[in-house]
Every structure is written in C-alpha cells, then in structure tokens.
C-alpha cells in the first residue's frame, strides 16, 4: 500500500468522524450503546463502561440481547439484577474459548482455554454517594485486580470522583484488547493505572479527566504523571468524541490523541476511531504512529450480531511500506440470557519479513455474563 493511500485512508477515517461530530463513554461493547443511543453509565456501574452492570444493564442484557428468554412455562421473567441488598451488588463473567492460528511457514497452532472469570463487587458504603468497586480477574493461583477504587458521586450523579486503580478514559472501550486501537495506545483491559479521575455528566455530554501514575498500574518510577481526558457527545442515533493523553515520563514522554464516533443506520451500528501517537525517547528519537478502526455491526435477527471490522496501523509515519492491517469477521450469538457465543475470523496483513504480521486466526469464545 502506498503512503498516499495510507494518508487517504487516514483522512477518510477522520472525515467520517468529523461528519459525525464528537464521543461515547466506553462500553465493553460500544456498538450496543450506539444501537440504543445510550450512555455507558446507564448499563455499567463504571461511568466509562465495562465491568459490572447496573440493574438496568442486567435486565437489558437478559431482555433485549438473547434470541430467547428461557423461563419456566407460564412463569413471568425473573430478571437477575445483581443487587444482593441495599449495600452490595455483584456480577461476573466467565469466559472460555478456542482459537487456531496459522502463521506462514509455521505449523498451525490451536489453543483451548477456560480463559478467566471476572468477578465484580460494588459495596455501597453510603448508598448513592460513596462506594467501593472491585473488579478481579480470577484464575487458579492467579487473582489479578483489574479495578479497585473508591468512588464519590455528587449532584445526583452529575459529578463523580474516583481514586484507586481503574481503566483510563480513552477512546472506544471495545472488548478486543488485541485490536490495534487498544493495543497500540496501551490503554486497555490489561493496563489499568492508579490515580484519580473526575467525571462530569451533563445532558448529552460526558467528560472525564484522570491523573494517574502513568505506569500501567506499576509503582511510581518518577514524579511525572499521565493525564488522560475524554469528551463525548451522545445523541440517539449518533455520537462523537475525542480523547487526549499525555504521559510525562523521565524515560520518554508519550502523547496520544484520538477522535471517535458512532452512527446507527437502520440495523447497522458503525464505530470509528482514529488515533495519533507521538513517542519521545525511542531508540531513533521521536516517533509518530497512527491507527484507525472502523466497524459495522449488523443486527440481523434477534440474538444475532454480525461484526465486520477493519483496522490500520502505521508504526512510524516516517518509514514507508511498514503498515499493517487487520480484518475481522465475527458472529455473535446470544441464544439465551447469560450466554453469548462468538465465532470469528481475523486476517492480519503486514510486512512479509515478519510472518506473525501475516497470520490468520479462527476463534470461538463463550461468555457467561451475569
């Protein structure tokens, strides 16, 4: 692919974003938010999405997503809300899967795994005002805290402050951490950070500002901090936004910015994001890279979603012919409540010298969220 085409593609992505105007608070699957015209915090306890669901989010997931609601004959639906009592709510997600990867010149490999169990706990120390939130990834001998924070909510939820370890507010929070737009900025479900965040919810607007260590949850290595902010505007059929992050570090600053958007056209929900990243302190000095992401989600029938996505990554804008692409086709099926299957295919296309950049992957995932 020529640089000219790369630039065209980038501007096409920017243009689409610009047409849609500004961001959505992140959902674990932001296309659902776009399809319904909702903010993230409506379905998720975290106002920036992901993790434990609210009672509304739980009922939505049982009522709206599955092909069929399974219940005893004649019995009225009895929805799980996660509410144990006034001071305690819980949730979880059991995930397993199988994948097969083909790398040119290497034997095909496959792997099956009960990947993880995510456990969510919300302790409402002062209901509606002060809560403790825990999100742990549980594996045998391997409990990993993902989010652990205290959250103070004020003015009927219009303002919140949280302190502890949490996922940083940046871009669309899709579930796939291997997507370029999640992997390259390095803000994803594997890299929560520790610090403070303030969030504002006003009408159609959402805004967050986080000041954290900038070490992906690790200990402080210097006095510099990471400043991450995001602004989004949500309408019933579209949304748009932008993010900015600056990591002030003695070992090399990193500045990232993106714009992202969502659009609903009939039964198709579109997502786009464009990220531009500037790294100082690399072995070759300052380096700029960018990624773009576009995804179409087609809700063909109740309980079925077909997802096509295209991603582009230019690791260094000053180097030619080093670009990478990734294409994914995924069928998501929610047969009954509390069960989601995902069957997908991904094709990577990069430089021929690196076979791993030209791999194909088939995968099946099973989710039991509650």
């Amino acid at each position: 692919m020529t640089d000219r085409f790369s630039v065209f593609l980038g501007f096409a992505t920017i243009g689409l974003c610009a047409c849609l105007v500004v961001s959505a608070p992140a959902f674990a699957e932001p296309y659902l938010a776009v399809a319904k015209g909702m903010k993230c915090g409506l379905c998720h306890t975290s106002p920036t999405g992901g993790g434990k669901r609210t009672p509304y989010g739980n009922i939505f997931a049982q009522q709206e997503l599955p092909a069929k609601y399974l219940s005893r004959a004649g019995a009225a639906p009895n929805y799980w809300t996660g509410e144990i009592f006034k001071y305690l709510a819980v949730g979880g997600d059991l995930r397993g899967g199988w994948n097969q990867t083909s790398v040119p010149g290497q034997p095909t490999s496959s792997n099956a795994d009960l990947e993880e169990f995510l456990a969510y706990v919300e302790v409402r120390l002062i209901p509606r005002y002060l809560s403790l939130y825990l999100d742990w990834k549980l594996r045998p001998d391997d409990p990993v805290p993902r989010e652990e924070y205290l959250r103070l909510t004020l003015w009927s939820g219009r303002v919140y402050v949280r302190g502890g370890q949490f996922f940083l507010p940046y871009g669309l929070r899709i579930q796939d951490d291997s997507a370029f737009m999640r992997q390259i900025p390095g803000i994803n479900y594997n890299t929560p950070d520790t610090g403070w965040e303030i969030g504002l919810e006003h009408g159609d607007w959402s805004a967050q500002l986080a000041i954290t260590r900038g070490t992906a949850g690790g200990p402080e290595i210097d006095s510099g901090k990471q400043y991450s902010m995001r602004l989004s505007y949500v309408r019933p059929t579209w949304r748009a936004g932008g993010s900015f992050s600056f990591n002030d570090s003695s070992i090399g600053d990193r500045q990232m910015q993106n714009i992202f958007a969502g659009l609903k056209t009939g039964r198709i929900s579109w997502l786009v994001e464009f990220d531009y990243i500037i790294d100082d302190g690399t072995s070759t000095g300052r380096r700029s890279s960018w990624t773009s992401f576009i995804e179409a989600n087609f809700a063909a029938w109740r309980g079925h979603n077909f997802k096509l996505s295209y991603e582009y990554f230019d690791p260094d804008v000053d180097v030619s012919e080093n670009q990478q692409n990734r294409i994914s086709a995924v069928w998501e099926y929610f047969p009954i409540q509390f069960l989601q299957t995902r069957v997908g295919y991904r094709r990577y296309d990069g430089i021929p010298q690196n076979p791993a950049q030209n791999r194909d992957q088939l995968f099946i995932e099973l989710h039991v969220p509650f």
């Binding site: 692919m1 096409a12 083909s102 790398v103 040119p104 010149g105 290497q106 034997p107 095909t108 490999s109 001998d141 391997d142 990993v144 951490d177 291997s178 992997q183 390095g186 594997n190 890299t191 900038g214 070490t215 992906a216 690790g218 200990p219 290595i221 510099g224 990471q226 990591n247 003695s250 070992i251 090399g252 790294d279 302190g281 690399t282 072995s283 070759t284 179409a296 295209y310 582009y312 690791p315 260094d316 180097v319 012919e321 080093n322 670009q323 990478q324 692409n325 294409i327 094709r347 296309d349 990069g350 430089i351 021929p352 010298q353 690196n354 076979p355 791993a356 950049q357 030209n358 791999r359």
Partner: protein
C-alpha cells in the same frame, strides 16, 4: 527466515510467499467491500523484520546474543506493547533498555523468579512467558501467535551463556556488576547450585577466586560482624569458561542451612576483581543494578535468606520430626509403636530410621539409603503404605514440598 535479498522464505502447509500476495490482496479486497475500504499491508521493502529501515542495523541473523534477540524477538514481537513508561508490568524491551529490564530483575507476576536468571533458562520468567508455561497470566506475545520454539531456543542459549549485555562500554571504565543470581535481599527456599555475578565487561579470570568472591552465612542469628559467621566453602570459584563477563561460584555439595547469607565481591583490599586493563571493581551496591558509585573500588556486598526446610537431617528434624512427629514418636526406642520409633532428636531419628526395617512392613526399610521410593517413611507420609494410616495420623498431612525435601535427603545418602 530471510533470504539474501531480505525477502521472506517460508515453507509448509501455510506458505504465503511473495507469489501469493496479489491473490491475497484481491481476497482482502473482496472481504472489505462491505466496508468500502481496500488496503494491503506494507511491502516491507528496505525494512528488517521489525519494520525498521535496514540502514538502522537491525537486520541481524538469529544468534544467542542480546543484539540479535533484540532485533529478531523483542523489536518485532514485544515492543508494540512493552515500551515507554506505561509498559505492561513495567517491563520495557526497547533497544538499549531491555537488558536492564530483564537480567537479574524479579518478575512482578511471579516475584520468586527473575525475568532472566543468567545461566538458568528454566528459572527465567521470560522463558516461562514465551513458552506458555508461566503459572501467571497469558503466554506472550499477548493475543499473537507464539514465537517459534526454534527462535526461543536462541533466547534460552543466550541465558545459558550468561545473558550478556550488548557490547559493553569502553573497558577503560571500572567494571560494575549488572546482575546477580540469587536476587539481592531475596528469600530462597533452596540453596542455588551456583551464584552468578554478571559484569558489564570482560574480567581478568585470575582475579576471580575464593579471596575475591566469598559466601558467608551468619551463623544462625542473621547478623554479621559478631564473630560467629561461617564461611561457605564452595566447590569452585572462577570466571565462566564461555563467558568472560560472568563469575561463577559452584555450590555443589554444600550442605544447605537455613540462615542469612552474604555474598561479597571484593573491590577494595589486597585482592580485588580487576578488568582486563587492571581497573578494580566499582562494587558498591545501592539497591539497584548496576553496582558502583562511579569510581574504582568498593566491595559489592549483598545478602539473601535461605528459608524453609532443607534436604538435611537437621532441617527435617527441626521442621518435621520435632514439631510434628515427636508428639507421639518419642522414645524409649524399641518395638512398641509409636514411641519405639524415636524421632525426638536428630541422632535418635537417624538411629530409628536409616537402614532399620519397618515393624509394619519388615521387608521395607524405614529409610532406604538413596531410595526414597522404597523407603517406608515416604510411603507413610505420602499415604501409599499398604499398612496402617497415613502419617501424621489424622492429618493435616505434609505438603509435597516438605516431603520432597525428605525425599531429597534420602536420595542424597540419608546422611546424619
């Protein structure tokens, strides 16, 4: 992997040669019609495996050297994520930084292991993560295909060779220590077979000896300087035969004793570690590697703790027989169980166990020297004995680590 022109050479069922690229692009195009985007990856012309210009010098053949591993493993597969201040787990693998992030640095996920323990690939967390054998977290590269074992084997060999840095600084600087195994101030459950000290430059082999590289234990009080210390006599001390930047103390045959140990490499005094230009070790350890305060001289002094049961009778006595067994098995010696099998002291235990037939199973020795599997003591502790209850009677039973220490004592001769 690359031919002389820098092009990919592949074989097998999944061939994806240059010849197939046009077809592949057409296939991609079809797939992307619904997205109205048609694009292919870069041609890679003039680039190395990392996607960097060949002129930057990264087009190196695979060899067991850090420079080659940097070019063929870390750069193409790892630094997509492991770069910058927010690198996952604080592990930066950028060129020029990877050595300091890896060698001698404890893993954050598995703090009992070093990311790279020079000389010991099996004890190096990097290998566990690349090969998918780590107890914690996912196999690396995350979400990507595993790195071929043939490539990992070069990483293994680099570690076996001492995990040396890229070509070191001007040897006209004093030598410093850049990594040590075991970890300074660490706690180990078994005495390492070797103590390894890595330098940043070649060392004069004649200056690595028992007078410049010492191991001392505190004498049981965790204190040094009060006169009861004991110098550990190693099997050998010297510079590695294959790595002139690695000093090795071989502890084969040393009886492990639970205690605090002090490692000293001399930079001051009549006997000091010297580089090839005769400059003395800059050894002061200030809590992080490399050692030194920037000037020649200064002893390198660090300590570690050996804790937990050891494969010696005294350790087994202190950790198992006395607190657990001697409650019932406590003299007078004789044919009446349980008291007759006296385990109340190390000497009594030795007399009651080693080479003594079991009363319950007279054809089996309680402890058969060098044969743990056929020692009745082990069968009773592991619950495989044909007669009677598993010991300790009523439980809780000993964990396998403890039993393994007893096994190791038996298999090494069941010495008193």
């Amino acid at each position: 992997m690359l031919d002389s022109a820098g092009k990919q050479v592949v074989a097998g069922d999944n061939d994806m040669t240059q010849v197939t690229r046009p077809f592949r692009c057409r296939l991609l195009s079809v797939q992307l019609i619904s997205l109205t985007i048609v694009a292919c990856g870069g041609s890679g012309e003039g680039l190395d495996i990392s996607g960097r210009p060949i002129s930057e010098g990264g087009n190196l053949p695979l060899e067991p050297t850090l420079a080659s591993i940097q070019a063929n493993v870390f750069n193409p597969f790892c630094i997509t994520c492991h770069t910058g201040a927010a690198a996952p787990q604080g592990l930066r693998l950028d060129s020029g930084i990877s050595f300091a992030s890896l060698v001698g640095v404890p893993s954050r996920e598995a703090s009992s292991l070093l990311r790279v323990a020079p000389g010991m690939p099996e004890q190096s967390y990097l290998i566990h993560k690349l090969e998918g054998s780590a107890q914690v977290g996912e196999q690396m590269p995350l979400g990507g295909p595993p790195i071929p074992q043939a490539t990992i084997d070069f990483v293994r060999q680099w570690i076996i060779d001492g995990a040396l840095p890229e070509p070191g600084p001007d040897p006209d600087t004093p030598p410093v220590i850049v990594a040590l195994t075991p970890d300074p101030d660490g706690i180990v459950s078994t005495l390492p077979l070797q103590i390894l000290a890595s330098f940043d430059q070649d060392i004069d082999a004649s200056t690595i000896n028992v007078m410049t590289f010492e191991l001392i234990r505190s004498g049981g009080d965790d204190l040094f300087g009060n006169g009861n210390e004991e110098t550990v006599i190693p099997a050998s001390v010297g510079l590695s035969a294959i790595n002139s930047q690695l000093a090795v103390m071989d502890l084969t045959g040393v009886i492990p004793v639970e205690d605090r140990y002090r490692i000293i490499l001399r930079g001051d005094g009549p006997n000091v570690v010297l580089n090839m230009n005769g400059r003395a070790l800059d050894g002061e350890y200030l809590g992080a590697f490399p050692s030194g305060d920037g000037t020649d001289g200064g002893d390198f002094v660090v300590e570690f703790d050996l804790q937990g049961i050891q494969p010696t009778l005294q350790s087994i006595q202190d950790n198992v027989f006395t607190p657990v067994c001697a409650v019932c098995h406590s003299g007078p010696p004789g044919p009446i169980l349980p008291a007759g099998q006296d385990l109340s002291s190390a000497s009594a235990s030795f007399t009651s166990l080693v080479g003594i037939p079991s009363i319950e199973q007279p054809n089996i020795m309680r402890v058969a020297i060098n044969d743990a599997d056929n020692s009745y003591l082990i069968q009773k502790l592991e619950g495989s004995a044909a007669v009677g209850d598993r010991m300790p009677q009523g439980g809780p039973f000993l964990d396998q680590t403890t039993v393994d220490a007893i096994r190791a004592w038996i298999d090494s001769g069941a010495n008193p």
